[in-house]
């Protein structure tokens, strides 16, 4: 006779290559029956060493390197970097260039949010929505291609301005695209708020209160879905956001449904502001000359990426190469919320909770070392780092 075995805990490892993950990451779910009791996240498969490489290239080369930190939010990385370097050089960028930066940033937000909507629906097993939202996303990809010549990594920015202008024909094409997308987005709004089967996967899953969201340091739509009023476009406007302000979009429930609602409502907000920019384009130049050498100094530059606050620290030593560039991406800040909200949910909900924060692995993969309170600082030698790396990936 088979004895009923005692309930046991065991660990389900997932990754780094896994059908549900488009990027390599490794997760260990400890499960008790079907319920997840803890999550361990191991990142770092995409760590390329960009911050170090940026120190060995000049400011112009870095623009293209940093754009490739992440292919989904490439423009916003370049914007954060360009704004920082321009601040160091003491240069004022013409208003038209700033408006184009905002325009492309909002178009990028549209493409990123539609992409996320599709991927998240796919994880819920709702492939129809995935296919529809990606089909509609091609509209904004066409617009970006028409403006810049490339579908991803558009390199809109140069130091001191932008690379391309927007003429009347392009503006019309953008308006037409926005009209089409707005109509489609109403449809998506209905789906994510009224489709019963879909709501069963999202309502009450991965709930995070506002206090929790603050304490875990979440950013962007993930935090705003929990009712945290934080959006850098409003709190500390950059580029042209003072002339063309956006409204903050929040929700209060904090669960996956609220995140869908926030993403979809941000889409509406982006369509609106894109139209406002097109109607009130400031005339004039789109570029000013930049010096090759950037005066000594250091600065920070913060922008609101589609996934939350993106932070750049740039230190210059007076040559044509930066001395140090530090990047802090929103995905990295949002990871902590996964291990906090996942316990208590079924294993089948894990993919939804993972994509719920709109993770971007290539943005997160840097090494972070947290020191205890009483330790001031620690210097890693190359040997230490090497040894640490070997141990870590063993």
């Amino acid at each position: 006779m088979i004895q009923n075995p005692k309930p046991q805990k065991f660990i389900v490892p997932i990754g780094p290559q896994h059908p549900a993950l488009k990027e390599p990451g490794h997760f260990e779910f400890t499960v008790d029956g079907e319920i997840v009791t803890s999550v361990a996240i191991r990142l770092g498969y995409v760590h390329r060493g960009i911050e170090k490489a940026a120190e060995e290239r000049n400011y112009v080369q870095d623009l293209y390197l940093l754009e490739r930190v992440c292919g989904i939010c490439s423009h916003i990385h370049a914007t954060a970097y360009a704004l920082g370097v321009e601040k160091l050089a003491g240069i004022t960028v013409p208003p038209r260039a700033q408006a184009i930066r905002e325009l492309v940033a909002e178009l990028e937000r549209v493409h990123s949010h539609l992409l996320w909507l599709g991927v998240a629906a796919h994880e819920a097993g709702f492939d129809t929505l995935f296919m529809y939202s990606w089909r509609d996303r091609e509209t904004v990809m066409d617009i970006l291609e028409r403006l810049s010549g490339n579908r991803v990594n558009y390199s809109a920015n140069v130091l001191g301005g932008v690379k391309f202008n927007v003429d009347a024909a392009q503006a019309d094409a953008i308006r037409r695209g926005m009209d089409f997308l707005e109509e489609r987005t109403h449809h998506y709004y209905n789906i994510v708020t009224a489709e019963e089967t879909f709501l069963r996967r999202t309502r009450g899953v991965g709930t995070m209160s506002a206090d929790q969201a603050e304490a875990l340091g979440t950013l962007g739509p993930t935090a705003r879905a929990s009712g945290v009023q934080r959006d850098l476009r409003i709190d500390s406007p950059y580029a042209a956001y003072t002339e063309f302000p956006v409204q903050i979009v929040t929700a209060s429930a904090g669960d996956l449904e609220a995140r869908f609602v926030v993403h979809v409502n941000e889409l509406f907000e982006s369509y609106r502001v894109i139209r406002v920019i097109l109607d009130n384009f400031p005339p004039g130049e789109i570029e000013v000359r930049m010096p090759r050498r950037i005066p000594e100094g250091e600065t920070i530059s913060r922008v609101e990426a589609p996934r939350g606050e993106l932070f750049y620290f740039i230190k210059s030593n007076g040559t044509d190469q930066p001395e140090r560039i530090k990047i802090r991406t929103p995905s990295l800040s949002n990871w902590a919320s996964v291990s906090a909200t996942a316990p208590g949910h079924k294993l089948a909900d894990m993919p939804m909770i993972l994509v719920g924060i709109d993770p971007c692995f290539s943005c997160s993969d840097r090494s972070v070392s947290i020191l205890p309170h009483d330790r001031q600082s620690k210097l890693w030698t190359w040997e230490d780092l090497r040894q640490y790396g070997i141990e870590y990936y063993r």
């Binding site: 780094p16 290559q17 896994h18 059908p19 549900a20 488009k22 990027e23 390599p24 770092g44 498969y45 995409v46 760590h47 390329r48 060493g49 960009i50 170090k52 490489a53 060995e56 293209y64 390197l65 490739r68 930190v69 992440c70 292919g71 989904i72 490439s74 992409l115 599709g118 995935f130 296919m131 990606w134 089909r135 091609e138 990809m141 579908r151 991803v152 990594n153 971007c360 692995f361 290539s362 790396g389 990936y393």
Partner: protein
């Protein structure tokens, strides 16, 4: 031992296998440290506008079911071992398509301390698709070219 490799029956089976492989290859996608740009373009190829599946190509999860590996990224040192492992898990014959400048040579990341600089530094590559990122059409063209090259006519010539 008596090797009956040229038995007519086996030849026929080989024919069928090759026909099936060319008409319905299954692909696996592996990201070895790319910036995501290429990966979203690969995903775009399976969505309605480009619809890679009309060529019978299916993107699926397990390396053990895959004929073609579509690889992106400059191969970071951490991903290197995984890449080799996944390649070894694929059944023979297997083909590798390197998508993107950084999968070909390291691209923008060439010279970073943590990258190998291209898929072909680690595993053999059959087809290269350049671009940063390549357009979905280019990816489809690359995969179709690979399938064309498997046809018996083109192998003779």
């Amino acid at each position: 031992m008596d090797m009956k490799l040229t038995h007519p029956w086996e030849e026929a089976v080989d024919e069928i296998r090759r026909w099936a492989r060319i008409n319905s290859p299954w692909a696996i996608h592996f990201n070895s440290g790319s910036c995501n740009g290429c990966d979203i373009e690969i995903l775009a190829t399976i969505t309605p506008r480009y619809d890679l599946e009309r060529f019978g190509i299916k993107l699926q999860g397990s390396p053990r079911h895959a004929d073609v590996m579509i690889c992106t990224g400059p191969v970071t040192r951490q991903a290197r071992e995984r890449l080799v492992r996944i390649y070894e898990q694929m059944p023979d014959p297997k083909f590798v398509v390197a998508v993107g400048s950084c999968a070909i040579s390291g691209g923008a990341f060439r010279g970073c301390y943590n990258v190998e600089g291209g898929i072909d530094q680690v595993i053999p590559v059959n087809m290269y698709v350049p671009g940063c990122p390549p357009r979905p059409e280019a990816i489809i063209y690359g995969v179709v070219q690979l399938l064309q090259s498997l046809k018996p006519e083109s192998q003779k010539g």
